[in-house]
């Protein structure tokens, strides 16, 4: 233990605490000014400093997708992103998807299909799905599954999640046909 703290002291001497850095993020259309340490991830900035706790911390290692947000319109893992690197960026979190009281079509589709159980992965799933639809690369259920593979659901709600996304992408007719096939 004594050895450990001596090593920690040595480490601190080598790397004096760096200054915090002022940044501006445009979060859900609102300009937010922040002063953050270099090691503050975008995820922590959103949750701890902006009180936007809809975005979830799951693994904190880019493996589960719970922290997915849209950065300048593209879906990313906010846990693997440093806030200081995103000065000036547009960030959309799950809190920014609804228009007033009207849910985003994907939020509504997740409700319609009961596409969750515990709900912890859901904000990341929905943000990821918004990114997926905007990318326009998925045309089949196989492609939806493949391109949503960065979002893990430990409750196993995958069939409903794919159905919800299909509803938004292909409309209800395609969805009914899909349900009948199940």
């Amino acid at each position: 233990m004594a050895q450990r703290s001596s090593a920690a002291r040595k480490q601190q001497e080598r790397f004096p605490t760096p200054a915090k850095i002022a940044i501006t993020l445009h979060v859900n259309g609102v300009e937010r000014k922040l002063t953050v340490a270099p090691w503050t991830t975008l995820l922590d900035a959103l949750r701890l400093y902006l009180d936007l706790t809809g975005t979830k911390k799951g693994c904190d290692h880019g493996q589960c997708g719970a922290c997915t947000v849209l950065l300048d319109g593209r879906r990313i893992n906010s846990c693997m992103t440093l806030a200081v690197m995103k000065d000036g960026a547009q960030v959309t979190t799950v809190e920014g998807l609804a228009q007033g009281n009207k849910l985003h079509p994907l939020q509504q589709a997740f409700m319609d299909h009961d596409a969750f159980q515990c709900g912890y992965c859901t904000p990341g799933q929905i943000c990821s799905a918004v990114g997926l639809v905007a990318e326009g690369r998925a045309r089949t259920p196989d492609e939806i599954r493949e391109l949503m593979s960065g979002n893990i659901c430990r409750c196993g709600a995958y069939p409903k999640i794919v159905a919800a996304i299909e509803q938004v992408m292909f409309g209800n007719a395609a969805q009914r046909a899909g349900d009948m096939g199940q």
């Binding site: 480490q11 601190q12 850095i21 290692h61 997915t68 990821s128 089949t140 493949e146 593979s149 979002n151």
Partner: protein, 338 residues
């Protein structure tokens, strides 16, 4: 994460100056690997030099008729670029076989080359690892080594390079452009990554003061006959147990030129010139493919848990060559192996 400083590079010369002046600093672009390594305490830079504002995000025609890919082009932009889809589909396919959509949106071309092994012992600070702490030993040799290398290993390290993209770049014989204090140089892809030997902590031949600025693809893209076949424990979002990148140039019933690179089996994308030579001039038959696989696997060595990779690689090579010859490349969405 430990405390660290943060600066931005204003242009390539500034990036070189900054890294040369602070050997304990590291560049950051997409951050998908280095931030993870820093959270695990495996990497402890004094400072991160943010290179994301450098003008290295273009894909443009190269003078020799090939394609020049800026080091900051995100993996997703590269995979879906029309020129890649039309001329280098092997590269696009390999990129889409790796990571997730979110990570591909973040990860850069240069960073993909520099990502580090996912060997569990490398990540586990409580175990010896020559790659993380030189001289402490290799825990994977005699340990849990199911994911580990069967080619080019040393008594010091049996880690694998985790990239899919790099396997395709090796098969395509890309070149890596790097700039350092001594100016710009072009590195053949085969010379970029290194084998562990007695210095497994060194992954590449990039110098400490160099920054990758671009990857260049030669004109030949093998767009007609290619396949990227990735075998892994789950169908998506997992590292390769074995992957095979194939490019074939066929003339009637004869293979004029063959490119074959393997991933998940060595410290770098693995090629075997003898196997490729065996295919050149041969008919595209199962017999030719088996003979080539036989040549590749001659130098394979298992370490216990990963012995299965030898037979798996043999079969994957034959399958990928068959897919390429038939013009039916492996789909990265429908995972049934054709």
């Amino acid at each position: 994460m430990n405390n660290f400083g943060y600066t931005r590079a204003s242009d390539v010369p500034d990036a070189v100056r900054q890294i040369a002046a602070d050997p304990a600093a590291k560049f950051i672009a997409g951050g998908t690997n280095i931030i993870d390594l820093m959270k695990e305490n495996v990497t402890r830079p004094s400072r991160l030099i943010d290179i994301t504002h450098l003008p290295l995000n273009r894909i443009e025609d190269a003078q020799d008729g090939g394609l020049r890919i800026g080091a900051l082009v995100p993996n997703s932009d590269l995979a879906y670029h029309p020129q890649i889809a039309a001329r280098y589909p092997l590269l696009g396919s390999a990129i889409l076989a790796g990571a997730s959509a979110q990570l591909r949106n973040m990860a850069s071309t240069g960073g993909n080359l520099l990502q580090r092994t996912r060997c569990l012992y490398f990540y586990d600070m409580t175990t010896p690892c020559n790659k993380r702490e030189p001289g402490t030993g290799c825990s994977a040799i005699g340990g849990v080594n199911r994911m580990h290398a069967i080619f080019g290993t040393s008594e010091h390290c049996i880690a694998t390079h985790p990239s899919d993209m790099c396997v395709a770049l090796a098969a395509l014989e890309a070149r890596v452009l790097a700039t350092g204090r001594d100016g710009e140089r072009s590195i053949a892809f085969a010379d970029f990554h290194r084998l562990p030997g007695d210095a497994p902590h060194v992954d590449t031949n990039l110098r400490a003061d160099e920054i990758i600025t671009a990857v260049e693809l030669p004109p030949k893209g093998f767009a007609g006959h290619y396949s990227y076949l990735k075998i892994r424990d789950r169908l998506s979002y997992a590292f390769a147990l074995v992957s095979v990148a194939v490019g074939l140039e066929l003339e009637g019933d004869t293979i004029r030129e063959a490119r074959l690179a393997l991933g998940g089996v060595a410290h770098k994308p693995w090629r075997n010139p003898d196997a490729e030579a065996r295919l050149a001039g041969a008919p595209p038959t199962r017999e030719s493919f088996s003979a080539a696989a036989e040549i590749v696997l001659r130098s394979a060595r298992g370490f216990g848990h990963n012995d299965f990779k030898i037979e798996l690689a043999r079969r994957a090579i034959v399958r990928a060559l068959t897919q390429a010859a038939r013009g039916t490349p492996q789909s990265q969405a429908d995972k049934r192996i054709a």
